[in-house]
């Protein structure tokens, strides 16, 4: 049997390795358009922050190792242009080192589309100028590192204020590069509870980052050897511009092959990761997932899901019947001295899915009463007023946030009520928590909102 995989990062290489372990005789071919496979994409901001580190530090396993040690045919520089689902073949172009292009064609028994996501780049003037960067694959990281070094970059404008924009903001500041962030929306982090977003904004600004929320970029110009990011009434000079306004699912091949897509045009897969074609799976940032809170389709492209889905595809093509339940939307990132975490739904999302959300935001402390080194933790938690179910949480703080969110994630997988969650036996010792863990204190407050508070504005603090 030939298992063909398009895309050689998290989902693709997880699937390839696991399929080979499951069935050592299986023929596995991975077609990767770039020169890099199996690297920690999420590690790039931290790597870029450190001039001394090579971007290649992020490679977990080289293509050569997959080939020589695992017997997996990893073909880099192979850009797939078309899938023929009837003939069970893919066609593409191999970019050889001498810049000659050579067509290729491979047949498959089972195919995995693991094409990831691609950064959103608006179709506006100047967004293709040299020095205007995106960050998604390792080569993007390589180019950013090189550009900073070669052009002695001192000023960066980041367009967008998502996870990657914020992580890169820290990376640039670590090299004393001036950072200006700009985006059209007026609210710093609109998916975040207001107090948490405000707190984080202050933290970012305290590191001398200029935040301009509410400004639509119209074009980027070249001006006196600098880039000029132009909005309606103002403009920002930069040596380099990073576009970080989100990603789109890598869906072109699938759509052209007649495979069904779903939310945000991501490739629709069932819980076995099978697409609408019985021989084609999809996994990773290109594919959708079920949300464990709503049991509806969602598209939250994150690394753990990609790895897990890759494994499940490998198991399923090897004859198992692995269903993976889906995602809770758990995410964590670091911004300067703050940890930021979320899981589940916001109150606005809850409304969309037919819940009647009650929510609460509280500020509490990271350590016990009178214990030195304690700092503030802000927690936002959402429950459903009709059923009492726990729907989601967000946290911001200097410590005790990143791993604490996991307790809520597990509760969401279990469809726990806020009351059940409030009764869980969470860990306490003075250096790590107050007696009542911040999550329990929040759940206790949320219970009042759910069962006692009769006002309509139950999501306003």
């Amino acid at each position: 049997m030939r298992f063909l995989i398009i895309g050689g990062d998290a989902a693709g290489m997880s699937a390839a390795s696991r399929a080979k372990r499951n069935m050592p005789d299986m023929e596995i071919i991975v077609l990767e358009k770039t020169d890099d496979v199996s690297y920690s994409a999420c590690g790039m901001p931290y790597n870029i922050a450190d001039k001394e580190r090579k971007i290649e530090d992020l490679v977990v396993r080289e293509a050569r190792v997959f080939r020589e040690k695992q017997g997996i045919s990893v073909l880099t520089g192979h850009f797939v242009r078309k899938i023929d689902p009837m003939g069970k073949k893919v066609f593409g172009i191999y970019n050889q080192k001498n810049d000659q292009e050579k067509p290729f064609e491979y047949s498959y028994d089972k195919l995995l589309i693991a094409t990831g996501g691609s950064p959103v780049v608006p179709d506006l003037p100047g967004f293709d100028l040299p020095g205007v960067m995106v960050l998604k694959n390792l080569d993007h990281g390589r180019k950013i590192k090189a550009y900073i070094k070669e052009n002695n970059v001192r000023n960066v404008v980041i367009i967008g204020m998502g996870y990657i924009g914020l992580e890169m903001c820290e990376a640039f500041r670590a090299q004393s590069i001036n950072v200006t962030m700009v985006k059209p929306g007026a609210i710093f982090l609109p998916w975040m509870a207001e107090k948490l977003s405000d707190t984080l904004k202050k933290e970012v600004e305290s590191h001398d980052v200029k935040i301009h929320a509410g400004y639509q970029v119209e074009k980027i110009e070249l001006k006196d050897n600098h880039l000029n990011v132009v909005c309606e009434n103002n403009s920002y000079e930069a040596d380099m511009v990073l576009i970080a306004i989100g990603v789109n699912p890598g869906n072109e091949l699938a759509i052209e092959a007649g495979i069904k897509t779903s939310i945000k045009n991501s490739i629709a897969v069932d819980k076995n990761l099978l697409t609408s074609n019985e021989n084609i799976y999809a996994a990773g940032d290109c594919a959708d997932a079920y949300h464990v809170v709503t049991d509806k389709k969602t598209w939250i492209p994150l690394a753990l899901r990609a790895n897990r889905a890759g494994w499940a595809v490998a198991d399923n093509i090897c004859g198992k019947n692995i269903e993976i339940p889906g995602v809770a939307g758990t995410a964590v990132f670091k911004v300067f001295d703050f940890e930021v975490a979320r899981t589940g739904l916001t109150d606005k999302e809850a409304v969309k899915f037919g819940f009647t959300p009650a929510c609460v935001t509280i500020k509490t402390r990271s350590r016990a009463h009178a214990h030195p080194g304690s700092s503030d933790i802000w927690i936002y938690m959402v429950g459903d007023k009709k059923t009492g179910r726990l729907l989601g949480a967000q946290m911001v703080g200097r410590e005790g946030v990143a791993h604490r969110i996991n307790a809520v994630a597990v509760a969401l997988h279990s469809h726990m009520s806020v009351e059940q969650f409030s009764q869980t036996d969470l860990a306490y010792a003075p250096p790590f928590s107050p007696v009542w863990d911040p999550l329990l204190t929040t759940a206790n407050q949320l219970l009042k909102r759910i069962y006692i508070d009769t006002s309509n504005n139950i999501c306003q603090d």
Copy 2:
């Protein structure tokens, strides 16, 4: 209605405050034998570590404040000697400041026994000498601080190697006091997976602590102005000795009043916290609890349970019907640079409760591949081979342990299977975790032990 409470720490004062909030007109009397109420007992080791801090920093709210601001009659120095459950009265002795004793008697409508635990002190020669200490209430902490200062203590022997012994070991070393730890059992931490216990022992020894496991102390002598802790074949000199071999439930009053006890002679309570007497509740370290994994009685005296049970008692005497599900046995403590956490059952406990445990111990990393500052995390996880259920976990590491255990605790409350847990959407970002969270990696390994491994020694690594 008069609500009478024996004991003014976590459970007692939680109950008093909440009952007063629920029903401001209720008459509430708290009888506390020491001079202190409402303090962070668990904070004592960290307070003792710091010469500059007063022990009174640990007081959360003074007795005076409860009286004046909350209208709760907090009577310190009131030692209850007897409960008359037929006459609904308690009798006792009030130790006045002028050392005169004065009998008292109070009737009640509802009574809460919140007498806590008392340190185990073996009935052996010399265990009552000056300088031989225990640590349970604030006055013990006060005495230890004073004794160290007044006697310029340079050498301490700690008898016992439990949480308190280890936390105090760190506290003494913070003051450059030499520490020797001694106990009869041969294994450092017998409740812990072997590799975790070994790792922790090395950490403690690396801080110049002498560990003597396997030595039964026979007596303590006074010798040349020093204390001498005598075992069969050796002895240890000390300026001060700390006995930290565990606590017993404060059950004397209850037993004498004919109230039923259960495991380890703790006071038996139902999920409403009611004892075998319809007007008497018990909460805190003196009372038992249901274990959420076994649904059988257990006695794990910890602070969160005490606070939570105090609240539930208050709600129940105010007419609600609050059942609290019980404990998972979640505990965390810090020993020098290590965080140590556990929840649920060990494999040995699992056998006792009729499970067929499979377990695994792995060493993994605290941060992502190639991320700087990463350190080792050791995780032990237990599941049931018959049902696939997750039964417990333990962790040791320099970071990422204390809050991570909560995800397992929530899973235990939900009766999750190891497979379900292995599919949860836990947080990932390079500074905080590998893509596969250490807990997920462990769960994945445990799944193999549960479903594939057919050897008998499935708990040996």
